[in-house]
Point group: C2
Chain length 112, copies 2
Amino acid sequence: MEELDPLLHQPLRTQLVAFLAGAGEQTFSDLKRQLAVSDGNLDAHLKKLLAADYVAVRKESGNGRPQSFFILTPQGLAALNDYVRALQRLLPLAGSGDGLPGGFPGRTLATD
Amino acid sequence: MEELDPLLHQPLRTQLVAFLAGAGEQTFSDLKRQLAVSDGNLDAHLKKLLAADYVAVRKESGNGRPQSFFILTPQGLAALNDYVRALQRLLPLAGSGDGLPGGFPGRTLATD
DNA sequence: CATTGACACTCTGTAATTCAGAGTTATAGA
DNA sequence: TCTATAACTCTGAATTACAGAGTGTCAATG
């Protein structure tokens, strides 16, 4: 069966990686605001992504107050693409236009 | 930000629900074989889906050996559709043809 | 008819994950 | 300098995920 990278297939991390992919380099505070998540939780998930080299950090300190900038690595981007492909194979996402108006393809769900 | 139903956004449960959506009513053993998962784990996740009314069970006993047939409920199907829509909004899944050949849209990932 | 084996679950405990808030360091303003 | 605030980081509790042991039923065999 289709394998879904457990590192990416988690609500907060999926959002996190998707956001980084779309928006590019982000500070800790920006991520915190955008994802509406607690400090500790964000830190924990970022740590996992850093440990897997899906995300890299660049720390700045000296001029203003210290800040960390987080960015998706090539590995992270590749993993995200694999993940999206796995989802597409698993869920018939494509083929029903934009929004799946009629319901999930394949079944009408007989409730008999 | 986009909310991803945590009940569905978990590797095994996503596969489980997607499989039920595509294949219709399935026995416990069929699910176990298809998803290559341990008894206890399958049971635990089915319990969650049953508790949420995403899945219903029909138990047969009398003629052969007792068997449980699991099927997606209308609520489960609706939740799955919502979930797919949420994914589509979160990840730019559509628009790049069949398989995202070029990479994730939106960024080329400057590693500078 | 008792016994053995296999199937179909279900229960229980452990390991891993997720999360929130307390703690730490550093800057900015009064 | 003293206080407030921003930007993290650490710690521990609660939830979740998982595997294997346990329970009950049926079929086959002697």
